[in-house]
Amino acid sequence: SAVISQKPSRDICQRGTSLTIQCQVDSQVTMMFWYRQQPGQSLTLIATANQGSEATYESGFVIDKFPISRPNLTFSTLTVSNMSPEDSSIYLCSVNPWDIGYGYTFGSGTRLTVV
């Protein structure tokens, strides 16, 4: 299966600032997915990032708040903008299974705390 490197692993940020999370895959993949896991909650899909086109956002998530880049088939970034304490969560990237051949693979996550 694919290996995903995600960084930073954790960060503590001031409200009103922005944080960019990076996700690097060791194989070329068509789609990359960004998830949020709020404390005590399940995973919620934020957006799907395709190379060469704009990301597709889920209901409740907007590009101004969570801009995404996908410059090539192995890399993506998610920015959490103008942060507030409600943005404190774990953010994870995941890759499309069919490119890899078996199951979705997840990054190790970024634990974000906004103070």
């Binding site: 789609m31 399940s42 799907t48 199951g103 996550g109």
Partner: protein, 108 residues
């Protein structure tokens, strides 16, 4: 509506006891279902997928379309099975919809 329901937040058993983690889904199409596991301080990882009909670490899960269920079972729980388990549904646009998760605690 597309939804995955895991009714139990916590399931506690003793080592050697049978385990069943419940998962029900709501989906109008043909479902692709997965179980994911997250051990303490580790990343989320795939445990099994229904299409493979396999047994991983002694766990099995059978898709029951009539009951719209995909329960995870293991006949004899081990302490190392203690983890968070998520049931997930893959939609026809390749999104994964997760249940709220069940924490399995296996006591010695």
């Amino acid at each position: 509506a597309q939804r995955v329901t895991q009714p139990e937040k916590l399931l506690s058993v003793f080592k050697g006891a049978p385990v069943e983690l419940k998962c029900n889904y709501s989906y109008s199409g043909s479902p692709e279902l997965f179980w994911y596991v997250q051990y303490s301080r580790q990343r989320l990882q795939l445990l099994l997928r229904h299409i493979s009909r396999e047994s991983i670490k002694g766990f099995t899960a059978d898709l029951n379309k009539g009951e719209t269920s995909f329960h995870l079972k293991k006949p004899f729980a081990q302490e190392e099975d203690s983890a968070m388990y998520y049931c997930a549904l893959q939609t026809n646009t390749d999104k994964l919809i997760f249940g709220t998760g069940t924490r399995l605690q296996v006591f010695p």
